[in-house]
């Protein structure tokens, strides 16, 4: 079974430029998550999708970050314009379907490492 695919693996941009990340979840997984992991910290949720609908985007800096999952499968996360503090690893994760009774097992991609200069 293929895992969560993310691209690119690395990206270096200058501040105020735009950048986009792509994620393809495990086939059949209805729930998709984007996390930001700053060096020395644990991952922090940015946005959660259930199929093509947003479940939780309370921690997404909406003035510069946007995300979509139009067909309920793959997803893109965009930053425009980027700031120095956006340097981090952006992780995508997916799970079968969120259920309050389930153990909510999330499978993570390898991430995209973003450096903003």
């Amino acid at each position: 079974e293929a895992g969560v695919a993310q691209s690119p693996r690395y990206k270096i941009i200058e501040k105020r430029q735009s950048v986009a990340f792509w994620c393809n979840p495990i086939s059949g997984h209805a729930t998709l998550y984007w996390y930001q992991q700053i060096l020395g910290q644990g991952p922090k949720l940015l946005i959660q999708f259930q199929n093509n609908g947003v479940v939780d985007d309370s921690q997404l800096p909406k003035d510069r970050f946007s995300a979509e999952r139009l067909k309920g499968v793959d997803s893109t996360l965009k930053i425009q314009p980027a700031k120095l503090e956006d340097s981090a690893v952006y992780l995508c994760a997916s799970s079968l379907e969120w259920d309050s009774r389930s153990k909510n097992i999330q499978y993570f991609g390898a991430g995209t490492r973003l450096s903003v200069l």
């Binding site: 969560v4 991952p43 959660q48 153990k103 909510n104 097992i105 999330q106 991609g109 390898a110």
Partner: protein, 110 residues
């Protein structure tokens, strides 16, 4: 604000030594997960603990959930270089999102 406090933040040991890392919270949680993250990779789930006082073993790794369900520990026996990585604890929420601690960065030297 970190809802989960992990300690120590860094741990560097020799192969063959034993170690314990901790995950603490002031809140009660219904379940807790432990992940390991290797350099350049995403976190990989090791175990989920649900019941207070529960102990789970995964080869040389022993996970314990506190009786009050506010803390958890991970003990590694006879550590090996392949155990090197960032160990993260995480708790779930009613909407499914995970809240992670800062992690313990473990380095095991041959």
């Amino acid at each position: 604000t970190q809802l989960l406090e992990q300690s120590p933040q860094f741990l560097s040991i020799q192969e063959g030594e034993n170690l314990t890392v901790y995950c603490n919270s002031s809140s009660v949680f219904s379940s807790l997960q432990w992940y390991r993250q290797e350099p350049g990779e995403g976190p990989v789930l090791l175990v989920t603990v649900v019941t207070g006082g529960e102990v789970k073993k995964l080869k040389r790794l022993t996970f314990q959930f506190g009786d009050a369900r506010k803390d958890s520990s991970l003990h590694i026996t006879a550590a090996q270089p392949g155990d090197t990585g960032l160990y993260l604890c995480a708790r779930g929420s009613t909407l499914g999102r995970l809240y992670f601690g800062r992690g313990t960065q473990l380095t095991v030297w041959p």
